[in-house]
Amino acid sequence: MAAASQFLAIARLAAVEAIRRPVFLLVSLSVVAGIVLMPLLLNYTLGDSARIIRDSALALYFVGGLLLSAHAAGESFSRELRRGTAATILAKPVPRSLFFLAKAAGVGGAIFLFSLAALAATLLAVRAGAGDLRLDWTAVLPALLALLLAPSLAGAWNHRTRRPFASAAFFLLLAFLLLAVAAAACFRTPLDHLAFPANFAWSILLVGLLLGFCLGMAVALAMALATRLPVTPILLLCAGFFLFGLMGDYLLGPRLAASFAARAAYAVLPNVQAFWLLDALDAATPIPASYIALSAAYAAAWSAACLALGIASFQSREIS
């Protein structure tokens, strides 16, 4: 119980500190704004806008999440080791493995909240742009209001109470986006016969969930790297790892039978393709629960391996 209390205290603080960083708000606002504004920009210019909006929104969510995972892990762990706050904590009766895992959980929690915001924005944007040359304003307006109101109210609150602006703005953005989804759900979309009968394309959430697993892997990798590296190399290595992971089938697939090195690289690289199931959405093919369970198991095993390496690395890390 005592260890659980320590774990929760460190994890909670890591999550809050990650969300309080201006970069977190900046990336979150950019991703949400990019997703929400997409129907306004695309609906009157290109055909097949619904699919483009959906694919672009999920891609934005994934790239933003990847950036935030690497940055938050680096800031939360690597920078704290250098700044000295970690030394103060580790001078207390806190095992290093618990400290590391709690930090990872905290960063993972922050990324989970970002994912909720991005997926809520995606649901609204896809509903808004479901029909070419027409917009569903019952989805666009609440989303735009959320985007505008969150920073404004957070600014006023900061002016009044002097409490951090960035975290207030993010939490308000998340709350308003969830409220926007609820508000839009109260109205039947005039376009629903075009795309989805139940007000929202809920199947997007399944792909979002799979991409969320992938972001969990990114957090684990970034945390393991943060035991030894500063923020910038973590960002570069994470981006490289997941880029090669995305192209793993294409680059390594033909060589798997003949080359041991190719098989080893294929096993080590995160198989991002397995989580990118937009083809299933295009073909309106249901994603089986067993596939989601297997993907979750793969992500958990890969993340556990990264975290184990991170713990081993951190145990021998000196904190000066």
């Binding site: 005592a2 209390s5 320590q6 929760l8 205290a9 460190i10 603080l13 809050v16 500190e17 309080r20 700044r83 000295g84 706050t85 030394a87 103060t88 904590i89 580790l90 001078a91 207390k92 009766p93 806190v94 095992p95 002097r162 409490r163 951090p164 975290s167 021998s316 000196e318 904190i319 000066s320």
Partner: protein, 304 residues
């Protein structure tokens, strides 16, 4: 009684990326700090004081030699639960308030919430920051942040208190309070290890010191025996109203010793004089302070 800290041939060499020796920060030092003593680790910048402290806390690993802290390995959490550590810089989360900061550290010490609440209240009163308990510590002056750092080091009522430059950044009142605190902790049988560049502060509170230079201990022992000038004696008496009496005394001393004695009025130290002036002014002024409030008595849980 077992020593609180026992170091034997302790060495620390920092290496570069290629594992080549870069800096030999501590070179085969041995020392023992008996439980219940106030021990000062002195030395110029780069002499190895902070490296030694970080090895004692299990943050750095010795290259050679052995180290025992409270009868256990420095990395053991059981030993760490009995240690309070004030780092050289007050590394705090700037967005947290003093209340949140101390609550966080109380959870790391696994204190029951009722005990934590009581101690946090007492410590905030003791460091004079009760009125600022809900302000983010990022807005604090260095001295105020230092007081929070001191409070977090005392939350667990530690048996061993390690204070790295405890009076750095504090005003004279805060400095006096820290010194009183160290003496009070020692009176309760706690062991205090402190480093400081302010030698007058060390002299006020330490019974034993070790002087480090270039990673080696150059001098070690009880402060009284290290500093006493055994070939000289001071005699203090009330200033006579008649100058002739003084001259007679001097002549007698010169005749008896065969040497010229020196004559001077003893001076009080600047610190008590300053504190007297400030305390008098504070008593006469009703204006509230925006920084730390005047020093309060020791937290009750630290007096038991």
């Amino acid at each position: 009684m077992n020593p609180a800290i026992q170091a034997s041939n302790l060495s620390k060499t920092f290496r570069d990326f290629w594992r080549r020796p870069r800096v030999e920060a501590v070179r085969s030092i041995s020392f023992e700090i008996p439980a219940g003593q106030v021990f000062g680790l002195l030395g110029p910048n780069g002499s190895g004081k902070s490296t030694t402290i970080k090895m004692i806390l299990g943050l750095l690993f010795p290259t050679a030699g052995s180290l025992e802290v409270l009868g256990a390995s420095p990395r053991s959490t059981s030993a760490k639960s009995r240690i309070g550590y004030l780092p050289e810089e007050s590394y705090l989360y700037p967005h947290l308030t003093p209340l949140e900061t101390l609550s966080f550290y109380a959870r790391l010490f696994r204190l029951p919430s009722a005990v934590a609440r009581e101690r946090i209240g007492q410590l905030l009163d003791m460091i004079g920051l009760s009125h600022a308990r809900n302000r983010p510590v990022g807005e604090f002056s260095k001295g105020m942040a230092r007081r929070i750092g001191l409070a977090q080091a005392l939350l667990n009522d530690p048996d061993l208190v390690i204070l790295d430059e405890p009076t750095a950044g504090l005003d004279p009142q805060g400095t006096r309070q820290v010194k009183d605190l160290i003496l009070a902790l020692a009176a309760r049988g706690k062991t205090v290890l402190l480093t400081s560049h302010l030698l007058a502060d060390v002299e006020d509170v330490c019974r034993q010191v070790a002087i480090l230079f270039n990673g080696r201990i150059l001098a070690r022992g009880p402060l009284d025996s290290l500093l006493a000038q055994k070939d000289k004696t001071t005699l203090t008496f009330p200033t006579p109203s008649d100058p002739v009496t003084l001259r007679k005394l001097l002549d007698a001393a010169r005749a008896a010793l065969g040497a010229d004695p020196s004559l001077d009025h003893p001076r009080q130290a600047l610190e008590p004089y300053f504190l007297h002036v400030i305390e008098t002014a504070a008593r006469d002024s009703a204006a509230p302070a925006s920084g730390a409030a005047p020093a309060a008595p020791l937290a009750p849980f630290l007096q038991k």
